[in-house]
Amino acid sequence: MAQEASSSTSSKTISLKTGDGEIFEIEASAAKQMKTVQRLIDDLGDDITIPLHNVFSKELPKIIEYYKKDITGEITKDFEAEFVKDLNDDEVKVLFLAANYLDANKLFEFLSQNIADRLESKSVEYVRKYFGVENDFTPEEESKLREERAWSFRGIKEDE
């Protein structure tokens, strides 16, 4: 009896509903990789549509694509490079926040690395803009800090 139950869940699909009302299907084994989703499944059962308030229809398909590849064990460096190739900085950020919300560890790690790669050797202003940080230093404080850190500055890439 237990064996039957497990074989039925492995081919089962779960319905996910995005914050803007669209529904997507994923394999149950892919859903397992997203801890937030799995927790919801554990408590609500796998028959109902799982609501994801903070994930939207633009990014969820990309996430599903990633985990579809992951469960077949096909994630390679080439796949990952291709995955982020056409994404602009904002799109990567949105995916990152979604991966964080979904507690999807593998994707989260991969996107952390990708964001770090995009910020490599960029100027302070660029990084501020990217993270949406408001500069609350006084000009004197900031120039003092820059002076203190000058030993580390090696060269800055052109801001894109």
């Binding site: 937030t36 939207f56 964080n100 919300y101 964001i115 940080v133 030993w151 580390s152």
Partner: protein, 508 residues
């Protein structure tokens, strides 16, 4: 109603907390609108730090200028690589490091790995400050420390380690490189490194023979030791006795010997019975003495090179042979042996010294990278007689190879030829008659050979090149148990490096 609440509870209890928008923003945003991408900076610190951990230390430190919230975020990383290319900004770099040290000592942060690479200073550094910095780094609760100051002449006085202090219990890997031979290991030193497994010491100066012994007795679990260009001040006999040691690399700067060692009988005793790997790059006039032969040595790489021929002319070449043979006789258990550069400076006088060579019972892999192969056919065969299990052999043909007379053929055939020799690689092949004869000798006698490579020499006198290779191949058709693969000279270096046990690279 109840169900809906439950969903929200579950959603908000996920491991990495959901972003909580500050009040002034949440009113502006209608609930069905997309996540505002500015929300990244409101993520909890540990998530932001996670991104920082993928950045270089240089980029991570820059985030301290983003805003007051970000000012000290980078200090919570656990791996740092401080590297500066500005010789005039070393003070601010050191100041930064001191701040980190303070934070660590106050248990505010936990550093796991710290690498500091300082360029050659413009202005000489204060030796006391450097000494106290090194001491405080060694007492930090970290696992891996690399501290490096480049340059030759930049400390006015020597930087002396304190005689007694307690390095951290967690330190497992240490790399200390203070250029200019400025780091002094004093007599009476008594420092215990309870967990240190790997030590790489460059340009350290040992005060006397006792300081060497005292220093190395402070490493109860050391497994890997590299001594690069260390200075042995007026010492005749140095002893390195560490029973836990598995890997030892000694690289002696020959120029460091000229000033202070007039005595030709300088000896370096190695007492490490559990050694698995030995690398010895030195001047051949230092006698290396293996006090207790290691019982299961896996590999040994020996490269002696003479730097001043005039000075050493008075040392009979036989003295150099004696040193080489002396070292080799302590390595009888070795499985893979590479002899490089000028390990022998003249054809070793086999009547005098070769009988001192032990039988290399475990030797399966022998590689001669000698610039000029000083083995004559006779001495070569005598050497191979002592390698009954040899499987892989690589050697160059050279000036001395054919300098003996034909009685080399009277030497009994080494038994490895018919029982174990599987791979053979001969390099620097010019194509002279005597060389062809030598190749035929191998083809006839190495009956279990599976792979035979010959690399053509690139010299002008060479008779063969890629154009008339076919002629050369035809000469050997039908001989021996395997085909010969010929490589033209461009491949010569590559094939050395691809020989898996011989690709030594030294990165200091």
């Amino acid at each position: 109603m109840f169900e809906k609440k439950k969903i929200e509870e579950i959603s908000s209890s996920s491991m990495v907390s959901i972003v909580h928008l500050p009040p002034h923003l949440s009113f502006e945003r209608p609930p069905h609108k997309r996540i505002n991408i500015d929300m990244i900076s409101y993520l909890p610190d540990n998530v932001l730090n996670h991104i920082l951990s993928f950045l270089s230390t240089e980029d991570a430190i820059k985030t301290s200028i983003l805003s007051t919230k970000w000012r000290y975020l980078w200090t919570y990383l656990s791996v740092f690589d401080f590297y500066s290319i500005w010789p005039n900004r070393i003070c601010s770099l050191l100041h930064e490091i001191t701040t980190l040290i303070d934070k660590s000592n106050h248990h505010q942060i936990e550093i796991k790995r710290l690498t500091i690479r300082i360029p050659e200073p413009e202005v000489p550094l204060d030796a006391h400050k450097v000494a106290s910095l090194v001491t405080s780094l060694l007492t930090l609760k970290i696992i891996d420390l690399q501290f490096r100051i480049n340059g030759k002449e930049h400390l006015k006085t020597s930087c002396m380690l304190p005689r007694r202090f307690s390095p951290s219990y967690s330190l497992t890997k240490l790399h200390l490189h203070i250029g200019g031979y400025a780091l002094h290991i004093p007599n009476g030193i008594h420092i215990q490194f309870p967990s240190l497994k790997t030590l790489n010491l460059s340009y350290a100066t040992f005060e006397n023979e006792e300081s060497v012994e005292q220093f190395f007795s402070g490493f109860p679990v050391l497994e890997e030791l590299t001594l690069y260009h260390c200075y042995w001040l007026f010492m005749d006999h140095i002893t390195i006795a560490i029973s836990t040691l598995r890997m030892l690399t000694i690289h002696v700067d020959p120029y460091s010997l000229n000033d202070c060692n007039d005595n030709e009988e300088m000896s370096l005793k190695i007492d490490c019975v559990n050694l698995l790997s030995l690398t010895c790059i030195s001047d051949p006039t230092i006698q290396f003495v293996i006090v207790k032969p290691p019982t299961s040595l896996l590999d040994a790489y020996i490269a002696f090179s003479l730097h001043s021929t005039e000075q050493y002319m008075e040392y009979a070449a036989e003295y150099v042979s004696r040193c080489a043979v002396g070292l080799l006789s302590g390595l009888a258990s070795v499985k893979s042996l590479t002899l490089s550069e000028g390990t022998f400076i003249e054809p070793p006088d086999i009547d005098d010294h070769f009988h001192l060579l032990p039988k290399f019972h475990n030797l399966t892999h022998l590689c001669l990278h000698l610039e000029t192969n000083f083995f004559t056919r006779k001495s070569f065969m005598q050497f191979l007689l002592r390698c009954p299990k040899l499987e892989v052999l690589a050697f160059p043909l050279g000036y001395y190879t054919f300098k003996d007379n034909d009685d080399w053929a009277l030497i009994p055939l080494p038994c490895c030829f018919k029982s174990s020799l599987k791979k053979l690689h001969i390099t620097n092949f010019d194509g002279f008659a005597c060389e062809i004869q030598f190749v035929e000798f191998f083809l006839e006698n190495a009956t279990v050979l599976e792979e035979f490579q010959i690399s053509l020499s690139c010299s002008r006198r060479s008779k063969y090149n890629s154009k008339n290779l076919a002629d050369l191949k035809n000469r050997f058709v039908g001989m021996g148990s395997c085909d010969i693969q010929f490589r033209s000279s461009e491949y010569e270096i590559k094939t050395y490096l691809s020989c898996e046990k011989c690709c030594f690279t030294y990165v200091f």
